[in-house]
Amino acid sequence: MGCEETRDLIDELIDGELPPEAEAEVRAHVEQCAECRAVMERHSRAADLVRGLPRVGAPRDFSVSVREAIAADVGRGKVVRPAGGWRLPMWLTTALPAAACLMLAAILGVRVMQKRQAEGTDVTAIAIEAEGESASRAAGRAVKDEGSQPAFSPEATEKAKALEASRDMEPRAAEPAAPAVEALAERKAARGRGLGAARTRAAAKRVAVKDAEDEATPLLQSKAKELADKVDAVKTEAPAGSLPFRSRTGEAVRATVPPRPVPAARPAATNAAGGERSVLREKPEGEGGANYGQAGALKKAGGKPDAFARDGAPAPESRADLKALADRAPGALAGVVPAKPGAVAPTKARPAAEAAEWSGKQREQADADRALDAAGRGDPGIARPVASARAPEEKRQIVAGGGRAAAPGPGFGGEPEAQQADRDMNADRLSWKAIDADTAKAEIQRIAAQFGGAVKWRSRPGRPAVLAVEVPADRAEAFAARIRGVQTGRATTAARRSRSGRGGAPLDAEEETSVTRDAEAGLARAEPREAAHAPFAPARREEGKAAKGGLFITLEIDIVTER
């Protein structure tokens, strides 16, 4: 046994904790090794000194002080010790009162709700009252009460939503009504105080507010109508297709002004742009194609945007002009936000009801425009009804690049390619069925990159999934065909799987040919175009963007998730 090992065992030897054989070994080593013996003596001496310390007893009254301390501790509630010899667990002493309070609160809440429902109100009304009876929210309840409709009837809900949207859009329109409502509420409350001793003051206030809301409803409605008229007037004054804004909902994209009837003879530049409803925009200097700014969007190289020039109105050429327009006609900007954050201070959202009405008017106008187009060009196909719920002018826009007034790239300046692609895009809105929206977006982005395009914007989370892809105009049709082709192919595969999954017979030869033909139709349309161009690698796409010589088309693709 070595010195190191011995010294590790010296203390155990001193304390008598070693087994006999190990003790003998250690002792044998210690007798031979002077250093280890010295260590053992020092440690043994230290242990003896400590062991020689006198014991100190507790004070005589110590147990009394402990007893008193324990009594005080029990008195503070830290220990519950019933006389019967058992005691409650500590957690239970806390949990029981809490559970009792919760049950009491739940019972009271249920009784209050039952009482409210018996009085013809609903949960929403209770919530509204709980929030302090703000005027506009109270108005929502007033609308519900007005028609004596069920608490959650669709009509009442729609009205409430419309008024809620109105509040969000123009708070100033609702605010003037608030003092009136409060004044009425005060009067009614004073009246309510005389309702009798049985009714509490809170109940009287509730009734008073409800009465006040009933009286305030016509006032609010008149305000809303006045506001709508004002907005319509501003829109009429504002130049058509002026502002490339995007709505907060991500749906009402592009021009917020209704398109005007198409004149019989158009300016050449307008026709070249692929139709009046398309918004011409230029990529500003130094900015990428997917990130052009507000001011740049309003400028047009070598002149003003056609839309402004056509109407004879001064075209905004700068942000200051845009703000001036906004100040002069604030309603024109209602319901829209800048396409790029920070470009222009956003205004409030357009009321839902107004937006719905607006969309209908726009759609009617668009159909009329299309009919005129078809008649003027002798293209009956273009006049066919559009299945999309969205007006065609909201679907895409053509972006002119390069700062050149004349169309530099293929398909621009009277080229039938861009116009044809434009119409094709109009005729059938692109959609993409997928299980997961994010996956779909990634896949679309990949396909767009193959065509030299890029994702321009995507809808916000929680909104209907829409992806806008900006692709070169001369490849837009091919891109759209690819999107449709992929989708058709998927549908075919799904049909096969469906039949197979049901245990049915496999597709016969005719069916197989049919679905295969359908599936490949889109791809077939795309292939000749693709064959005509060299593969458009991302590097070349960047190069093309740098040159700013191309015409780009923005395509919106609805992503339909299927779960």
């Binding site: 010294r7 590790d8 010296i10 203390d11 155990e12 304390d15 904790e17 020092r42 440690h43 001496r45 230290a46 242990a47 000194l49 400590v50 062991r51 020689g52 310390l53 006198p54 014991r55 100190v56 007893g57 507790a58 004070p59 110590f62 147990s63 002080s65 402990v66 007893r67 301390a69 324990i70 501790d73 830290k78 220990v79 010790r81 019933p82 006389a83 010899g85 058992w86 005691r87 667990p89 500590m90």
Partner: protein, 211 residues
């Protein structure tokens, strides 16, 4: 080395007289909420635990506070004592933890009590220097020398880090075995051995001139 009374503790009644109940019976009664049984348990264990607390803290008043806190903790959590270990081991653990916690709160106390006429002069804990002088028993000079030595050792223990002090006090003063040391401190035998070795090494350095 371990006091025999610790193993076969006999309780005492409220008047201090032996109640005749065994340690297990006292603990069982205390767990059922018998206040008298718990007080009996306190009286049965207080001297030993007080000595532990005094050596750990270095001060009588602080030892009283710590031990009272330890008994309060024991009373609150007596339900959790399952009887798998000795009640002494359980109380030692609570007392040691209370001492270490208090030591961390108040900081290191190096001003341990020095020589006092009221300081214990023997290992029985009852005799003091004043009593030794008054009774005329023994040599007063030797008593003073013994008391000074005890004060030096006491001070040296106070110089040790908490972990080392714990094992030294529990082993050399309270006489716990290595196994019991492991139960009280929750440490392995190897850790106990290592701490004890280092503690004695340090004490030997501090008390090298004492003969």
């Amino acid at each position: 080395m371990v006091p025999e009374s610790k193993r076969t503790g006999q309780g005492s009644g409220a008047d201090g007289a032996p109640s005749g109940r065994t340690e297990e019976e006292i603990v069982s009664a205390a767990k059922k909420g018998d206040a008298g049984a718990f007080e009996e348990l306190v009286r049965m264990t207080q001297d030993r635990l007080y000595n532990l607390a005094f050596r750990m803290t270095g001060h009588r008043e602080e030892a009283e506070d710590v031990l009272q806190e330890a008994y309060l903790r024991a009373h609150r959590s007596l339900e959790s004592f399952e009887g798998t270990s000795q009640i002494y081991t359980w109380l030692y653990r609570i007392t040691v933890n209370a001492c270490l916690t208090r030591g961390r709160k108040v900081g290191r106390r190096s001003d341990v009590e020095g020589v006092s006429l009221d300081a214990p002069a023997g290992t029985d804990g009852d005799s003091t220097l004043a009593g030794t002088f008054a009774s005329g028993d023994g040599d007063p000079g030797e008593a003073i020398s013994r008391n000074e030595r005890a004060a030096r050792v006491h001070e040296a223990i106070g110089e040790l880090p908490g972990e080392y002090r714990t094992v030294v006090v529990l082993r050399d003063i309270e006489g716990l075995s290595y196994e019991e040391l492991g139960e009280v401190t929750g440490s392995s035998r190897a850790a106990i051995k290592s701490r004890l070795h280092r503690a004695r090494q340090r004490l030997a350095e501090l008390l090298g001139d004492l003969r």
